[in-house]
Symmetry: C2
Subunit: 353 residues, 2 copies
């Protein structure tokens, strides 16, 4: 057994791997691989419908909120969001809380006037600034709910009367939120939704169609809504993997049930980071992410040794991002509590040796 | 056994399904699924490199031509090509030879002045117009090398002194062409390259960086070249499936060898369409596609009967596109000659009954 703490693409449930592998050989006893299924077949239309329905159900979405499965990754959403929501002279409020947030701001400049309402950049994004105001004329407030690289997460979503837009790539479906309070949510699938190669967008249809520019066909959310995410050939297998993962999540009891386990996992690991004399956390305690636990060693010289020790014990993917250093253990939905306990035992053993 | 004549996503080699399924369970004896591999791991970097190298080798590309594996499908290329190559006041020549060509023209209007230099629209795209001139000031000539819906294919690529851009989604790697004569080639993977969810772009790097507009980060080919198609998380599994399919093609002897078989397959089926008293082809003989063979019945009333007969005999995916009607048999690289012979036998048997 290998313990995969990768930040993404990352661990998925074992039964998803098993069902996906079986479908690549012979989908549903059809004699065909899922990879050779035309996207206009009833079988795939059913998969797309089920994936969409499960997202709606798991997130408790109302009928204004449409679920889309798109190409392009969250990085494409950095441009697609302002292209659809912001006119050139309009402003939108952005929170500068990490590398990905900064990339979103960069793209928004091509389509409107993003205004940075808060930033923790000068502290290497080690906390989330909470004392900020959003101008009334901001078309929307953009937040990154969880910052994968730095290990921070909004434990309370900022309250504003503006429209809310969120990049939830690394914590969607991991905790119960009022998802209907957001007008647009986007997330690369490759952490909690499924495999890499598809991006989920949840959008309140009432906010669309208000900008003056001509939006290219593939960039206009309205076209994807009208065509049920089949405006062009969708990433068939990636959507199928999402559907399997969402089925699994529903079987676990849904978002509230998984949140409870996610809280236990994070509490267990942070407790050890705080207790163990060799390690320390890197971010403000109140902003600690339950998805990506970042920590370093009191003595940086020992980090190579612990990394080797973890590797020797079948742990992979815990090297921290180069902008933080040290370690990052990603605890997405599919990561079992027992694997986190295993990592904690290794940290204890390393301290004792 | 099921005989899959789908137009795409479509049949892939059996060994690709087997290797891909094994990798979803346990990639290369790592204890990990290919779906949980981080894209920055040496393993995946090796996969991406091999896929790129195989494309270069199979297409015989020179060092100016860069191979990219992108998100978004060919439909995204309809906008991305003019966004990168055309200034707002510049014109480009477009050949209107089918639904997809028309969609490319529509998107180009947002970024420059596409000029339709020829069209077969008034004949339901049943032939390829060859008597046309390309204005000298056209930034490029855009062609669709194979028109999947109508079953036409340029048997001789138009000769022009202008830069050449081609949508090769449905015939790339199926025949030997001087690929270096094109400055830009794009193709959705889901016919001859691999599974749905990734798009291959081959671009001459020397044509980039000449337009005045600010190109969004994800739309600028130069960024994808600089980052080796890993500007953001790539569609890991789709790229892996491409790599496996390209390995298979190399093992078959490459493009020239598969072209020989593709010619045999198409010749066999067209001969029967012409011979059989019940059937007739729908396009000009000289423009017949070797990838998508479109045909109807002399007596349209009999079409439902033949479709049922084919279905009863384990043939799927031969219903023609609604804009042509009748039948379409897609004979991509992975389709064995024996399956085409099987279809021909059914056509004979249906005639005899």
């Amino acid at each position: 057994m290998v313990y995969n703490f990768n930040a993404g693409p990352s661990i998925l449930p074992k039964e998803v791997f098993e069902e996906a592998a079986a479908a690549v050989l012979n989908y549903n006893d059809s004699g065909l691989s899922i990879l050779e299924y035309g996207h206009r077949t009833p079988a795939f239309e059913g998969i797309m419908q089920e994936a969409r329905d499960l997202m709606k159900e798991l997130m408790g979405l109302d009928d204004n909120h449409q679920v889309l499965f798109l190409h392009g990754g969250a990085s494409t959403q950095f441009m697609q969001v302002p292209m659809n929501l912001l006119d050139l002279k309009e402003s939108a409020a952005y929170t500068d809380t990490g590398l990905w947030a900064a990339k979103a701001i960069k793209e928004a400049k091509l389509f409107g006037k993003p205004e940075i309402v808060c930033s923790s950049k000068d502290k290497n994004y080690s906390f989330l600034p909470k004392d900020f105001a959003v101008p009334n004329d901001s078309k929307y407030l953009h937040i990154t709910t969880n910052n994968t690289i730095y290990g921070t997460q909004w434990q309370k979503i900022p309250v504003t009367s503006n429209s809310m837009v969120a990049d939830m790539s690394s914590d969607i479906l991991s905790r119960d939120l009022n998802f209907n309070a957001f007008d647009l949510i986007y997330a690369g699938a490759q952490k909690n939704i499924g495999a890499a190669g598809v991006t989920v967008v949840v959008v309140n249809k009432n906010i669309l169609g208000k900008v003056k520019r001509n939006i290219p066909t593939m960039m206009d959310y309205r076209n994807h809504i009208a065509e049920g995410s089949m405006l062009n050939t969708p990433p068939v297998f990636a959507v199928y993997t999402c559907m399997l993962t969402l089925r699994w999540l529903k079987k676990q009891g849904g978002v509230k049930a998984i949140e409870k386990i996610n809280n236990e996992k994070a509490a267990l690991l942070y407790a050890e980071v705080d207790r163990n004399s060799l390690f320390k956390g890197t971010v403000a305690a109140e902003d600690r992410s339950k998805m990506n636990v970042c920590f370093v060693m009191e003595d940086g010289q020992k980090e190579a040794g612990f990394l080797q020790y973890a590797t020797d014990n079948k742990i992979i993917g815990i090297k921290g991002h180069r902008s933080v250093g040290g370690f990052r253990a990603s605890l997405y939905n599919a990561m079992p509590l027992s694997s986190v306990a295993y990592l904690v035992e290794l940290m204890k053993a390393f301290e004792n040796n």
